[in-house]
Symmetry: D2
Subunit: 377 residues, 4 copies
């Protein structure tokens, strides 16, 4: 096998959140299993593996209560590492979920002081992003949800959410920043229900904002899968709407806790179609991995994990290119295209019956593609 | 108990699809268990039970290949029954899923002849609706989906879907009809994945149409639950967007086949919050039941089922009104409202910590509301 | 309303894990929101609320590396509190999941040193239980699972599991302890898949042990619901097999992370049937709540939560008794019982057709029971 | 590619239900799309494709109300086809779900006449099986479940189920038949809940029967996946218990209606591990496909579907053999085996910490195996 074909380079635009390889393995039933590593180490190691850049929550880099001096020192040190290892920060995000202050939501909290604080925190995170050269600000409202709908009318939550987003786009415009916001949906966890639980709901919500042109989406594959939705269809809708500003690649089983598995590791077929869609649609943004290593791993395993995410993407990309060249598959697709252009008119019950008997040969096509994925074509 | 309080009247605007009480109990593993009943019998029986009207797919009333004369005779006879029993037809829909011709989709079919036929069939159903006085045309694209994403790029499906919907709104405008379209989402079944699988996705899609003002949504509770989404949040987003044109009431367990259970029969708490939302938001449209009786029932059971749907709605409506009067609950909500208006500013780690320790008392509130639902307050 | 009817007393046998009211609100996306409280405070507070006792993991009470003296001091102090507040400890369990040593399993770990350590830790927990008067030892193998089936053949895992359990029953017998083991199943979380994921799987597995008579099950409602299984059926199978040694009461939405909601708070109908089953079958063990308060709560909310669990159980118990007295419901059940004893023989297609047309009236029955649950009968 | 390697032969023991390739595409929302084909055609076509045999429900071959003469004629004709095409019938089953008489269950029906009829029907199906040379009788209790637990105490259902199974094993013994029963579990659909919803529950139930030695299980992959359970673990438990009498191979997405997809077509990784388990454990029974073609297919597509099931199995089997030869993978497994035999004792907090830091390298192993599945090793 020509393994060299699947060696990542910065041109592939692979990025990782600091929090992904930095995940320490804490879960609801267990303690951290790995020591924390400095962001600069992450930058160095990911660069070595062929990544293009890193992303971060504000507090992944700068502690919440850092002094201005401390903030500057940390950022400068981090920028030096970025420069040393030729790594970019195309996206930043804000942590509006870890601190107990956000336990009943941040931008949709019923407590106005919390909402105001959350908006200001997000604005500071945007500032940090600009400082680091990021042009995408991802917003995942992890606590914007409820356990009991008695406490807050969801319509009031939407209203707070809208006001908050309008405050952020207003801030971006007022600051003349070259920054766009990408909203990330999730159906549940850590709240029983999270508001605007799918990329579709987010896309609809954006149309109700003051500056919809500044706001798009950041679909996370695992979040769509949690609800059993087809991530390929979800991402395709975002592309169709011109709103695919960023994407979070990982893996997940349907109907479970948020697993954040290594990209392409569980649903091999789904990963193929997702990569094919990104490549076919000439998606130009970063391929961002938002996953974390199994809790069984030490740091050697962490870097195996990161390498595996990128290598799998490249394998699937190869297979997507092969799909476009495969004569049997292409012949079948051309037959479908002829149907798409067929000018026959169904005029009678007889015509209808005939079209009802048409064999679409999708079992054969699907088998061909699966064999392509499995590497036996 | 004052049972008389829960006796439905036409003022309650309860409607049923002909196909709901007319469901014959056919399922993937079993044959029909009930004889079919004429639409006029349904009109009579539902009127007797206190319903406001019925709804229908084109072919629930008129066979697909009926001659013009037959069509007129059937419609006239049906209108006579409507008039005799003072029943309305506020909504009609179109069957684009039963006939084998639609086996790979209707409005998104890869076969242009099928798409064209589906659009014309929908237009004829709109005509029928106008004839019957309906002002809402529901569109559920039951077959607009896929088993294998190799066969059709979802972006092409969206494009076909959009063209088809534009053809329909153009037809409505060209005909000067007073009719709006309400799109109904479903995540899967009978296809592996159905395009635009949630009400959120539909709301977003509407913004890409030629005449978004003519198109809204018809959320079906069971379809949201199939994906584990909170129907109350989904319906609230539709209301927030001004797009709740119609609603399908029923019940369902998460992560299962489409059960279409009697409204309010499984998730008692969810039904309460849904009714509360409709009433609080002064939703003025029909309360439409899209459910079907258990397969264990004969026609006595069918009418029990229909009566149960309406009676349950009225019980939950009573409870929603009681919620608004309950002093303990209202006192707790006022405390939350004070937080909503609190002008305190979080300035320090100390402030943040204090707000992080705030007890929201949602366990108590939720328990109070549950006891209200359970009738022990 | 006669609220006094729902005031818990020790005779109701309500118990809580120290870890339930002691849950500090840590989750995968957020920090602890409540300070820890001493076990003796929990004993006092729960006693005040009417509970019968508490339960605990070994390390909920005694730190893993406590000296013998420390251990004795802690246990003595705890026993004093139990005695002061007339509280029992009918069950103990062992924490084989929190410490990083267990990250790839405990009793099924691929590392023999870990398995051996886990068995010894469980034996010490059994000793502690005996010391505290417990007669049930619950075993939840939270880490007994996998992310990748490449690493361990599940048959090898079962073999390790069996050897471990045989070591524990052998220890119990060798020590002449009056103690039984109750196995608790869970389908997933914190592992991708947990071995023996349902109460059914556990019941089957028990039959392969050296001393099946010493081992039963501890069904947790939420764990069954995570997989969309009906907990009433699952608990009924345990009763049918004579293996319902203990039970964990809580609530949960299907297909989500482990929510551990307040008992009876989400699925009102399911809670009713579960309580009815326990009461109808004269289950004599503790009604053990394994749930935790919302993360929005301070300690006032924690005690509201605990009170709510017990009060809800009592309300449902009342309703179950009312079910047995309701003349309409009982009349319907008697009709079903007559079918159960009907000696008619189906001899012909005609007979078969007639029985196929029988109306079972379950829609009516279900509606009656729902109205009973809702308190309108 | 050496395609010849994946051409099925009877030695591979591939079997199909008559109802699988004979599925006409009827679903809850649509009519049949394919004409029915005679069983003899199925035998001929599957033989041509390399299958070993077929299986059947009683009524797939003989109509329920056939006269004795008709029965004999049909069976003789079918046996002639089997003989002509060298096809076996290693398993038969009974249809206890299609006829309306079974709408509230068959062996667990509340109506004694239905239970009695169901037992007799099953006995006749066993006779038919013996006539055709089958040695496995699969029993799927599709209607043994409930929509409302008010109507039937699940304990009573278990009791009826047990009595019925005892009647069947008694019949087999009394008839001196060389036949075993394999129980097939399913969590839901077509009933809201089906009793004994998992293979684990069935294995446990078998221990309560009069003749457990005559009864085993027939796990269906799709049924386990519907509940999000890992089929590999479920089948492994059946093997561990010596109860894997038969197996139903197909594919399915979690948390959906029963899709019965082409084997190995959706969850490529899961299919690999399942085949690997069957081969590693030297499972000697038929590889039975219980799936059906997409509704988009004509009969050309039906045979593509059947060929795809078998071809995929052979590809996965090749990969499983490659797994056993792959030096990198085997080296990693040997390292795990060394852990399994490691006699080190964990004595101190320090030891525990060290083992807590052990890196299991499962990310790397999982990636290696995925690359093997994807054909890039």
């Amino acid at each position: 096998m020509e393994e060299k074909r699947w060696i990542p380079t910065p041109a592939d635009q692979f990025t990782f959140g600091l929090w992904t390889v930095g995940n320490r393995g804490r879960d609801p039933f267990g303690d951290a299993v790995r020591e924390s590593i400095p962001p600069t180490t992450t930058v160095k190691e990911l660069s070595r593996l062929g990544a293009y850049g890193v992303t971060l929550h504000d507090n992944d880099l700068v502690p919440e209560d850092a002094s201005l001096a401390e903030h500057d020192r940390i950022v400068k040190q981090f920028q030096a590492a970025l420069s040393d290892y030729h790594m970019a920060v195309p996206m930043v995000t804000v942590n509006l979920f870890y601190d107990p202050v956000f336990k009943d939501g941040a931008l949709t909290s019923s407590a106005k002081p919390v909402r105001t604080y959350a908006i200001e925190k997000a604005q500071r995170a945007i500032d940090l992003g600009v400082q680091l050269g990021a042009r995408i600000f991802v917003l995942w409202g992890g606590r914007e949800g409820s356990e009991t709908d008695a406490a807050r009318d969801p319509r009031q939550a939407f209203s707070h959410y809208r006001d908050s987003l309008n405050a952020l786009t207003s801030y971006i415009r007022g600051s003349h920043y070259d920054m766009k916001i990408a909203l990330e949906a999730k159906p549940n966890e850590p709240r029983s229900d999270i508001y605007l639980p799918s990329t579709g709901a987010m896309l609809a919500f954006i149309q109700t904002l003051d500056h919809p042109e500044l706001v798009g989406v950041n679909p996370e594959l695992a979040h769509a899968k949690m609800a059993g939705l087809n991530p390929v269809h979800e991402v395709a809708q975002a592309i169709d709407a011109g709103k695919l500003f960023h994407i979070d690649l990982n893996d997940q089983r349907i109907g479970r806790f948020d697993q954040d598995l290594r990209f392409g590791s569980d649903d091999l077929k789904g990963a193929f179609y997702l990569v094919k869609l990104l490549e076919d649609s000439h998606y130009a943004g970063p391929r961002h991995f938002d996953a974390h290593p199994y809790r069984t791993e030490d740091y050697a395993g962490v870097w195996d994990f990161a390498a595996g995410c990128m290598r799998s993407y490249l394998i699937y990309r190869d297979r997507a290119q092969q799909f476009a060249r495969d004569p049997d598959i292409q012949e079948m697709l051309q037959a479908i295209e002829r149907l798409n252009a067929d000018e026959t008119v169904i005029r009678s019950a007889e015509d209808r019956k005939r079209w009802g008997q048409h064999g679409y040969a999708y079992e054969k096509l699907d088998q061909l593609v699966n064999e392509l994925i499995l590497g036996v074509r």
